[in-house]
Amino acid sequence: MAHQTAAKQVVLGSGRLLGIQRRIDAVELLGWLAVLIPALSYVADGGLTNLSDAGSWFEVINRLSALIGTSMLLVHMLLIARIPWLEKTLGLDKLTSHHKKLGKPVLYLLLLHTVTAVVSYSIADSVNPLVTLIGLVTDYPQLLLATVGVVLMIVVVISSIRAARRRMSYEAWYLIHLVSYVAVLVAIPHQFELGSELLASPWLNGYFIALYVYVFANVVWFRSLRPVVASLLMNQRITQVKKEANRTTSLTITGRRIERLGAEAGQFFMLRVMAKGMWWRSHPFSVSASPSKEIRFTIGARGDDTAKIQDLEPGTRVILEGPFGVFSEAKRTRQQVTLIAAGIGIAPIRALAESMAAEPGDITVIYRVTDTSDAALLDEVKRICQEREHDLFVLTGSRPNGPGFMPAQQEGERQQPEYQRLLTIAPYLLESDVYICGPGPWSESVLHALGKLHVAKDHIHLEEFSW
């Protein structure tokens, strides 16, 4: 554990790495366990006996897909509930990617449940499934609601598949995604009022009630109430808007005891600016200076709201949700550190360079820019590296033809693969924790080079700033 005392102390070493891995494994196992428990309870209750004919098979699939699908849906929601203990272990980006991966399986399971339920009843009734469906939906209002829920879920998942996301504005996707809460809520009555397993087993009933309450309480508190309450209590406001180089802007946010948010260098916040046309959506921004009594973001103008940020007036109220991310000292297990940034990715890297515990020479900073005259925060990075005696390499030049994260090599230069060039710059790379922040394709190239050098994944820490 990292202890922040007056003189900063960080515990490093393989024991710490093991501890981090164990915590991640434990959390992920807990997620799987939450999904497995209802199914096991069903099986232990004799659910798999009496499998005599097609109808009973449909019934078993119906029950199992309902139990697994529902608990998976709850885990799926838990992943985006912004729960601190989960976030500190896995980090928001990993939670989000798990959430994305679970979306389709959850829908498939719940569709399977819907279809097998109708089919098994239609077999029992020996009428066609459509008649059964109409009968069920008209006789049981709970089932009508649940059917509406599953249709809404289909809409939400379709709107989230990549092809649809590309054609759709973020706004449209966001609004449709909010509907998923409705889809989940309207499906609840039929589970508790008609669900045979839940009615039969009080403890399974309690298990699902507890899970629902936990998920919704966390979503409501951490996603909406807490950020608003904190913003009002702390009076979070923009106190400074400073134009930097390369169409970037630094925003300084202050507030009463804002340090209580507990942000660390390398982390980010979801920033919601309470200005006209911007208040309804938040954006992720990395902290660009070691957080203290104030929190500073450095933001590149790249479309949508980020362009408007340059014109914000000091005094504008903001709502900070966070801090998020484990792209911080929390994941560091080695003394040597290599920080690699491109473009506006320098923001969290600068904060890390400023605040990481280090002896002179422990930290190597590599900053990839097109042009030094137009590099964000370059002066600050230079000053920090000079004061703290980090090695700084600013890689200037145009992009190579084809993939690559380094500047194109000149005609006369000795042609070398990028990983060798990287090793020349940062000879301690193989004994380092490597922190990478930059655009997606560029980060891929860095990862490729690190792969060639066999740098272990446990020591590579990545934050993409466009997601």
Binding site: V43, A44, G46, L48, I123, A124, S196, E197, S201
Partner: protein, 184 residues
């Protein structure tokens, strides 16, 4: 997740699934398994003839035991065996020795798995007996009726819970009892 953890977790998960399965084999099967196609042979003629009257009862009005089901007129119940509401009332005698016994038969309630019809007896205002007049006994439904009769006698109403796997049968049974109660 690390590879080792994943392997261990998979082994543990599958062995616990096995354990759960073997526990399930030993445990008594759930009260009912509804899925098997109900033959409905025994009562087919009755259910066919009683369908019109039963359809007059709105479905889904199952939860509130207090609301008496809207009463369909007893016409159309050509099941023959159905006795008219017989009341053996003691004529306002001063000696309250003879208990007031009322017997009534419900309408035949048709639902997805067949037909349920009950004969209900009330003695001095208390439900003292519920008998099945019609009811498919396959797939463990006979057991369900036993529990439902017990529950009705205990609760003196249809205000009790559900039986696992028998939601629809329970609903139909409750409707039949409510219907009978409303006739008294």
């Amino acid at each position: 997740m690390r590879v080792g953890t994943r392997i261990v977790a998979t082994i543990v998960a599958s062995s616990s699934a096995l354990v759960a399965w073997s526990i399930g084999q030993q445990s008594t099967p759930p009260d009912l398994i509804l899925v098997q196609a109900s033959p409905a042979t025994t009562d087919s003629s009755a259910s066919a003839t009683t369908k019109p009257s039963a359809s007059a009862t709105p479905p889904a009005d199952n939860t509130a035991g207090a609301t008496p089901a809207p009463l369909a007129p007893a016409t159309g119940n050509t099941a023959g065996a159905r006795p008219a509401p017989t009341s053996t009332q003691a004529p306002t005698a001063p000696a309250p020795v003879a208990p007031v016994v009322v017997s009534v038969t419900s309408d035949a309630i048709t639902y997805k798995y067949g037909t349920v019809q009950v004969a209900l007896t009330m003695t001095d205002g208390a439900i003292t007996s519920v008998k099945m007049v019609q009811g498919d006994a396959s797939n463990g439904r006979a057991d369900a009726y036993t529990s439902l009769v017990d529950a009705t006698l205990a609760a003196q109403s249809t205000n009790y819970g559900n039986i696992s796997g028998a939601t629809f049968t329970v609903d139909a049974f409750k409707k039949a009892v409510d219907n009978a109660l409303a006739k008294i």
